[in-house]
């Protein structure tokens, strides 16, 4: 199982801040595809995924207990 976080506009799109799913051994690309089918529009080309608080690449593989976060374009400052 992994934990998945949604922030800002994506939290409003998904209607949830956090959920868990079975993605151990799968890739970030798989996760994105799953999210897009569950929450159409989330994969809008501007969203990044972080694994365990580091930006991840599409081919990165998720491990048991990992934390994934969908990061929309940031606007701090």
């Amino acid at each position: 199982m992994i934990r998945i976080f949604y922030f800002a506009g994506l939290r409003e799109l998904t209607g949830t801040a956090e959920e868990t799913a079975e993605f151990t051994g799968k890739t970030v690309a798989d996760l994105m595809q799953w999210a897009e089918s569950k929450y159409p529009g989330i994969d809008n080309g501007a969203v990044r995924v972080a694994i365990n608080e580091e930006y991840a690449l599409p081919d990165d593989v998720l491990g048991e207990g990992d934390t994934a976060a969908f990061i929309p374009p940031v606007s701090g400052g």
């Binding site: 972080a50 940031v74 701090g76």
Partner: protein
């Protein structure tokens, strides 16, 4: 007790960060504060709401601090970003940089705010009289050439 790179949900006291970076060998300190502005492109903001992925944001702020100390040896930096509801004039972000010489203190400070806007997972929602919107992708807005 403050952390040198932190996300806070209370009003920011800039003095804490300026004091943190000061050392006997520092001749220059720059403190940048980003404030909630009432008017942006002709639209009146009532207030802002900031949200962060806190542990990752603090990690990324600390990374920016490390980048600065590598790029401008002898500097020391501290950064804090506030989250939650902020009113007009409130400080959203403070960046303090000290260095032996002033040029580095200016350059490193400006570098920090640019990097924050690129990669620190913090988001701003603008609340106007007739609506609200999460702001994103600000770094794509033209801001003049980097020096």
């Amino acid at each position: 007790m403050m952390k040198a790179f932190e996300v806070v949900s209370h009003p920011i006291d800039t003095q804490v960060y300026a004091d943190y970076v000061l050392r006997p060998e520092a001749g220059a300190v720059t403190v940048f504060t980003g404030h909630v502005r009432e008017w942006t492109n002709g639209v009146r903001t009532l207030y802002l709401a900031y949200e962060a992925y806190v542990p990752m944001a603090e990690k990324k702020l600390a990374e920016i601090g490390q980048e600065i100390e590598e790029k401008w040896p002898g500097t020391r930096a501290a950064i804090a970003h506030r989250i939650g509801e902020l009113q007009i004039g409130d400080i959203a972000v403070v960046i303090a940089v000290s260095s032996p010489h002033r040029r580095d203190a200016y350059e490193a400070n400006e570098y920090a705010i640019e990097r924050i806007k690129e990669m620190v997972p913090i988001w701003k929602k603008e609340i106007w009289e007739d609506g609200e919107e999460w702001i994103g992708g600000q770094k794509k807005k033209p801001e003049g050439a980097r020096t």
